[in-house]
Subunit: 118 residues, 2 copies
DNA sequence: TACCTTTGCTTACCAAAAGTGAGCAGCTAC
DNA sequence: GTAGCTGCTCACTTTTGGTAAGCAAAGGTA
């Protein structure tokens, strides 16, 4: 039972736009979740986010870094190691991710349930 | 203090993807909010969602209709009148919109606050 | 040593989507 | 009549996305 139903105020549109400008892609939230679940290397993320390509991942990681949601660290050494990690600020997106996750779960149930329709 | 911080479970990724498949564009949530705030005619929505074009709006409205989030109604009569309205199901997206709105609000503050940086 | 694999990307190339401007049918206003 | 609004669509350009390949540096394997 959402307490806000229909109660969108005038600041909703601009704030939403601000948020969407950072987060609206198909991949960004997925990447953040992958990072949060322990996948910190490029190839590791690539494998854990099904369907993403190297090119897009590289670009998205740059975007996320620019928005200060993640941090890229290069560990020099005989094998140069690059790791990505979510910054604390990215945790503020948890409510968004949570809400979206819940909705996705529910939506799938709806779609599956009404299986008799085209 | 988000209670879910880092606590993403294994169903997060697929559920998130399901949700993003419906809602990930730059415009869909904005359109839903515009509809929910009383803009129900095409041109009205177009004007209230800054930056959107007729073409994209038409396409997004079709998508939203297909996903059963909105309903298109044509009232025949001397002036044919087309109205769009959010279906009850779209209200289930309120938590998502709310979370995103909050985040956007906060993010703008952060960006503005750190104004001395590039 | 040669050969294959992994990593973290980048580069061409092509397809899909978004943005731009014009326009159109049907109506109203003047 | 002509100008305007509405709800779109069309043709065109630009931007974004996706695919496959490749590359330098290192590691394994024999």
């Amino acid at each position: 039972m959402p307490p806000t139903s229909m109660g969108h105020c005038l600041t909703t549109l601009p704030s939403l736009r601000d948020a969407l400008d950072v987060v609206s892609g198909k991949w960004k939230l997925l990447i953040l979740v992958a990072l949060a679940t322990g996948h910190q290397r490029f190839r590791d993320i690539e494998r854990s986010v099904p369907g993403i390509s190297s090119k897009v991942l590289a670009k998205e990681l740059k975007d996320l870094e620019q928005h200060q949601l993640i941090q890229r660290t290069v560990q020099e050494g005989p094998p140069v190691l690059v790791t990505y990690e979510v910054l604390p600020y990215a945790d503020t997106l948890d409510p968004v991710i949570f809400a979206l996750r819940e909705w996705g779960l529910n939506h799938r149930r709806k779609i599956m349930g009404a299986g008799s329709e085209a």
